[in-house]
Every structure is written in C-alpha cells, then in structure tokens.
C-alpha cells in the first residue's frame, strides 16, 4: 500500500538526547523538521541509563571533536537549563587518588590534560577531602576538585528539547522504526514500519547504538559500533554525598563512581563491560558485586548500603575512538551523528548547534523570526480539585499526573509517565499506585488497558480481562 509521501527538510532518526538536542536547534530555522523514534517514548536508549552527569570533559582526548564540543557545551548549558527549566545542580566532582601511583597520574597526566581542555583542577589534600566528604575512605592519598561538574535529569533534558521543538513547529513521531532508506537525486526516501514514507532533503542519523545499522540501510558500511554495558546500583539514602566522587580514570572508562541524584539518593556505577547484544540490559550478580568492590575503595560506608533499584545501560563504542559527525559515504544528504560514547548528554547543546549549522549550510536555511526560546512549565499546570495524592511514596498528586498526560509530548507508556512525574519511583516501586495510574491514563487518553504498556510492545501489566467480566 502506498501512502502519501511527506516532504520534509530535515528528518532526524533517533529521539535520544543527541537527536532531540539537534531537533531543537534545527527548529530555530524556517524548515519542516521531523524526528522519528522507534521506542514508545523519547530518551529510551543510552540517554536513559547513565550517570546523569553534565561533565566538563576535563579528561577528553585534547584536540578531538568530542573535546571541542564538550568545551562548547560548557558555554551553552546555563541558557539551556534556564530556558527549559531543567533540574540541575553544579555539585562539583572530587577526583580521588587511592594510591601514590594514582596521585602521580592525577598530577602528571590528568591535570595537564584538563588544562589543555580548558578545565582547571584544584588539588586537594587527603584531609581537605575528608573534611568535605567524611564518608570517603580515610586511606586515600589525595585528589582534586573539578568545580564545573554537575548533575541533571537526562529525561527532562531530552523531553524538554523535544517539547520546545514541537512548540516551534517540529514534529515528533514515537513508536516509528525506520525500515529502509533510498538515496534519490534530490532527497532521501525514508520508509517506516507503519507505512509512512518521508522524502527528506537531509537525514540526520542519531540512532545511538543502532546508528551503524541505520547507515547500512543507505548502503553505508563505513563504521561499526559495539555496545558497552554499564550497570548501576541506586541507593535511596544519600549518606551525605554532595559531590560527584570520581576515581582516577583508566583507559577503558572513568571507573566506578558515586553520583548524587538530582531528585535524591545516590547512584553507584557504572561497570564497563563489552557485550555483543545491543539489547542486553540485564544486571548480573558479578556486575553488582564489581560495583560494590569498586565503591569500597572510595567510600566503604556506601558499599554495603541497601539498594532501592539496580539497572543497566548500554553506550556506543565507535571504531574510530572519536565522535563520528560527518556526511555519509553513500550520500551528502545523510549526516551521521554517531559514536557519541558516554558524553552525549554533556555535549548535547553543542552537538545540536554544530549539526544545525551543518544543516543550515547544506540546505541554505534561514532563522525563523519568532522562535520560542523558553518552554512553559506544563508539568506544574494543575487544575482545581486534583490535589489528592496518587503516588503515595513520592506524594505526587492527581494534578501532577494529569498535567503530564495533557502536555504537548504526552507519555504513551507507564514508564513515560513515571519519568515525567517521578511517580512509581519510591519505596513501593509503583505497586500501590500503578493500577490508579492506569485508570487515569484510560480516562485522559482513552487508552485500552490491555494495550497500555509499561514500556515496549507486549509489556502491559495486564494480559486479559477476568473471565466473566469482559463487558465490565
């Protein structure tokens, strides 16, 4: 069946933090802009499960595009945070050396590298660290403060990028998978699983871990990505942690860190495990054990703390070692934004700007006159008589839930609602309020409860009507 072809100027594949940041920046121009996300919500892949740090990039390899964009993002973040009302806290990070060898690495390698990246590290003695952070292992040798490091809500950031773009005329399609691309003379035809076809003057491939496979759809085999798994342990008690605690990074990763969470609690992790399967999000006993062992060196008190939740995320490791932001070998109308490693969130404002500049130059786009810079605070727009609590553990009200369901990019899944409101994230993990949330979904959106998923297709909390109550 041939459906109407939609002609667009820029089509972005992937609604992670990178694709969404690009969408917002491209929406500044007079252009028809569309984003396709195959998951039922934005921010589902690498953007979802990470340390939620806005990183300065002090340890990025100097001279790389990654280092340059991380430096650029440092300038842009304050405005982005203000305009999109993103929950953010500049906590600073304490780099902790647990041995004389690590202290030497810090002084002789990491500090000069940070200088080259435009970030000043302030050396701290062991005593100064323990005074600031009494939960740190007293056996440490010293360290440094990285003042510019901060914590943020990655989902809020991604959602707000998209909502702001939608407010400025962009379109976001969730639950739509790209199944084929054909390079034509003046455009690329993009085919999707639900029969939509787009003819795009420029396609931006921001498909995260899958961007190598998206490239192959256009006959471009120029790069490959492999997944690296990171497991995390979440702790509800904050143990007085007010800084990000970083070990001395090694070649593979930044190591296992302690990160305060913007909404309370502490995150321990991640591991760095090279895996095969791009959908392997399982936590393992060995991984969780490794996190606890890693933390024991930094902050022994936290190593044994009770955990409210554990999860795993996957990040992309590229064959080149740097960001891959360039036009495809198959067409000048396909622009790859891939291999963004673990720094996509931190660099996203600058990646968005950089890619939008490329799109502007390629297509000759002009800025729109009336771009709306600031996102209204939809999520606090509650109505009278909606003040009762639905999520008991987090004291979240009916009004807050309904505001999320009424927003410009409303959730399609229960996880989407969770991430917009914080409901179901408390001690009971949604066991008390999820049935009520399902009813609110049904009332507000007319959802069929059997088709209302937790996240992916087939993940509804219910599988059938109770026999004999089908008509109820």
């Amino acid at each position: 069946m041939v459906k109407d072809i939609q002609h667009v100027d820029v089509l972005i594949i992937g609604g992670g933090v990178v694709g969404s940041a690009i969408l917002r920046e491209v929406a500044r121009y007079s252009a028809r802009v569309v984003l396709l996300e195959r998951n039922p919500d934005v921010c589902e892949g690498t953007s979802k499960s990470n340390s939620a740090i806005v990183h300065t990039g002090f340890d990025a390899p100097p001279g790389t595009l990654e280092a340059r964009l991380l430096a650029g993002a440092r300038e842009l973040w304050p405005q982005v945070i203000e305009h999109l009302h993103i929950p953010y806290l500049q906590t600073g990070a304490l780099l902790i050396a647990t041995s004389d060898e690590e202290l030497a690495t810090l002084q002789n390698e990491i500090t000069p590298k940070a200088e080259r990246n435009g970030v000043t590290l302030s050396p701290l003695t062991r005593d100064e660290i323990l005074e600031n952070a009494p939960y740190i292992n007293p056996a440490i040798k010293g360290g440094a403060l990285v003042e510019g490091e901060g914590i943020i809500d990655p989902f809020w950031t991604t959602r707000a990028y998209c909502e702001n773009a939608v407010l400025n005329g962009a379109q976001v399609f969730t639950g739509v998978t790209v199944t084929g691309m054909s390079v034509e003379e003046n455009c690329i035809s993009v085919h999707t699983n639900d029969g939509l076809t787009f003819a795009a003057s420029l396609v931006v491939n921001a498909a995260g871990l899958w961007s190598d496979e998206v490239a192959r759809l256009a006959g471009d085999h120029s790069f490959a990505l492999t997944p690296r798994k990171g497991q995390f342990i979440l702790i509800e008690e904050d143990h007085g942690v007010s800084h990000i605690i970083l070990p001395i990074p090694n070649r593979i990763s930044k190591g296992i860190l302690v990160t305060p969470i913007i909404f309370g609690g502490v995150m321990l992790g991640p591991t760095a495990e090279d895996v095969q399967d791009k959908s392997d999000l399982a936590t393992t006993a060995a991984g969780l054990q490794q996190i606890r062992q890693g933390i024991a060196r930094l902050a022994p008190a936290m190593a044994g703390a009770a955990s409210a939740r554990q999860f795993a995320g996957l990040r992309a490791v590229s064959s080149t070692g740097d960001y891959i932001i360039r036009f495809s070998t198959a067409s000048e109308r396909l622009l790859h934004v891939a291999g963004i490693r673990s720094t996509g969130l931190s660099a996203s404002p600058a990646i968005g700007r950089y890619v939008a500049d490329l799109a502007r130059d390629q297509l000759g786009l002009a800025l729109r006159a009336n771009f709306i810079e600031e996102l209204p605070e939809y999520l606090s727009e509650t109505h009278p008589n909606e003040g009762d609590v639905i999520c008991l553990c987090r004291s979240i009200t009916r009004g807050e839930i309904l505001a999320a369901l009424r927003s410009p990019l409303p959730p399609e899944t229960l996880d989407g609602l969770k991430r917009r409101t914080g409901a179901m994230l408390g001690d009971c993990q949604g066991n008390i309020c999820m049935p009520r949330l399902m009813q609110l979904f049904q009332q507000q959106r007319g959802s069929d409860l059997l088709a209302l998923n937790k996240n992916y297709d087939g993940s509804s909390p219910v599988v059938a009507r109770v026999p004999g109550r089908e008509g109820v």
């Binding site: 342990i233 959908s279 999000l281 399982a282 936590t283 393992t284 006993a285 969780l288 009770a306 955990s307 409210a308 939740r309 554990q310 999860f311 009278p384 008589n385 909606e386 003040g387 009762d388 609590v389 008991l392 553990c393 004291s395 009200t397 009916r398 408390g426 001690d427 009971c428 993990q429 949604g430 066991n431 008390i432 999820m434 049935p435 009520r436 399902m438 009813q439 409860l449 059997l450 998923n453 937790k454 996240n455 992916y456 297709d457 087939g458 993940s459 509804s460 909390p461 219910v462 599988v463 059938a464 009507r465 109770v466 026999p467 109550r469 109820v472």
Partner: protein, 281 residues
C-alpha cells in the same frame, strides 16, 4: 477540617480501626487515609479464609460522632511542636489541595509497604509481570488478569490468599516458599518468561508470565523524613512500651513500628494503644 484537634490519626488501616473499635477517638479526633475507604492495603485481599476478624472489623467498625474521617487524604508531612504543650502540625494533601491540621496528639498508624523485587537485588531483566500482591489484587478488582501463568513467591498466609485469588480468577498458580527456595534470576523482555530458584544447592527454572513477589512488608515512613521522629535501620518508627515515639505526644502503632509482624498483631496493638491513649478497653 481546619482547627485544633485533640488527636490526629495518620492511617485508617487495621491498627487504627482496632483502636477506634476499642474506644479511641471519641472527641475532637481527625483521621486521614490515602485510600478512598478504611481498611488499609490488606482490604484488597479480603474477604479471605484466616482473615475473618480483620474483615469483620473493617465491615462493622462505626466511625464515632467525635471523629472526622478523611479518605483520599494523605498526610505527607509531620512537623512536631517546638515546645511541650504546643500542637503538632500535619501537612495533608486531598482533592481540594494541600492544608495543615493541628493536633495535641498524633497517632502514626500508616502501616507498611510491600517489599518489592527491586529491594532484593535479584539479577536479570526488568520485565512487565513482576509485582507485589497489592498490585495483583487491585488489577483483579479492576477486572483484569495480571498474568495467565503465575508464581506467587512467599510464605505468609497473605501469600497463600493471593495465590488462591489468582487461581479463582482462572490463573494457573504455583506457590513457592521463600524460606525453602531462593530467587536467583528473573528473565524475559518485555514480559516475564522465566524465574530461577535455588533449593538446597539445586537450581531450577520455571516458565511464568507473572511473578507475585510476596516476601513481606517494610515500614511506610518515607513521609517522616526530616520530622525528627526516630526510625530504626529498617525504617520502622521506634516507640517505647507506651507506643510513644521520641517526640512527646506523638505515638505510633501497627506495621509502621513492626513491619515483620502479622495483621493479628496490628489488631492487638490497636486495642492496647486505645487503652493507653484513653479509649475504653
């Protein structure tokens, strides 16, 4: 609802109802509960064999004249008095909005939350179809099956009642004892497919699309953070022999002080607190 009360009760579950049935709250008393009816979270599983006393209490307890019962009204904060003789303040959220209520004495009877799978750090995926009994009971009450092939994992009488409820609705149920079998893996995506147990060193897997994790309760005390009320390592409110917390005039009773105890203990504690706080025994 505003004004000054002699007593404010946070929670209308079994311990509160038991105290009321024993004479507590006859004058200038106000009671709040998150749910739309009294009876606590256990009510969703009732009536059921072995819970006759609790069911009778929920059905028969009359709210006395001097007690204002507010349902769909959740206490989200407690601000103890600065000095003796001054009232305590409760922050309450209900349909009309957030308000404050003052009371000379406060009884914390807000019960517990079921311990979810997430607390046990069981390796594996995070599929749909893993829940605690409260969710299964509510979904059944809404007319939906949470699965077709269920494992109920737990040892309590409540676990058995939950298994029976599911079976009555046409679900194929296996009841697995948590004291005999350790849960070592949860697999499946997007929906639960397999659960693995270890018994006496032997590992075995079972196919299922629903795991009801029913290993016990934890105290519902997150809302007391910052209030100055002392809680134990496991979150339970600490009280003396007279059910009084570390703050004079603030008392606690039921699952919130002893999450490992049974509903029968909540009934007994409710009676005792009524006599101590001035009910008729």
């Amino acid at each position: 609802m505003s004004g000054m009360y002699d007593l404010a009760i946070a929670g209308a579950g079994l311990s509160a109802l038991s105290a009321i049935a024993a004479g507590l709250g006859r004058r200038r008393t106000i009671m709040f509960d998150y749910q739309d009816e009294p009876g606590g979270f256990l009510k969703h599983a009732l009536p059921a064999p072995g819970f006759e006393t609790a069911w009778e209490l929920i059905r028969s307890t009359r709210i006395p004249q001097g007690l204002t019962a507010c349902y769909g009204a959740t206490v989200v904060g407690l601000l103890p008095a600065f000095e003796g003789g001054e009232p305590h303040t409760l922050v309450v959220r209900q349909k009309q909005g957030t308000s404050q209520v003052q009371a000379k004495r406060v009884l914390i009877a807000c019960g517990g939350l079921e311990i979810p799978r997430e607390h046990a750090q069981i390796p594996g995926s995070r599929p749909a179809g893993v829940m605690t009994p409260i969710m299964a009971h509510q979904l059944l009450a809404q007319g939906y099956l949470p699965g077709k092939r269920a494992i109920v994992y737990g040892d309590a009488h409540y676990s058995r009642v939950t298994a029976q409820r599911l079976a009555d609705a046409g679900v194929a149920v296996s009841l697995i004892s948590a004291s005999e079998a350790q849960l070592v893996a949860i697999e499946g995506s997007p929906r639960l497919q397999r659960v693995t147990f270890r018994r006496a060193g032997e590992t075995s897997s079972m196919e299922a699309d629903l795991l009801v994790y029913s290993v016990g309760m934890m105290a519902n005390t997150h809302w007391l953070k910052g209030s100055g009320i002392s809680t134990a390592e496991d979150g339970a409110v600490q009280v003396d022999a007279g059910y009084e917390t570390n703050v004079p005039g603030i008392y606690a009773v039921g699952t919130v002080i002893a999450p490992s105890l049974d509903h029968v203990d909540s009934l007994a504690m409710g009676k005792e607190v009524a006599s101590l706080l001035g009910g008729t025994p």
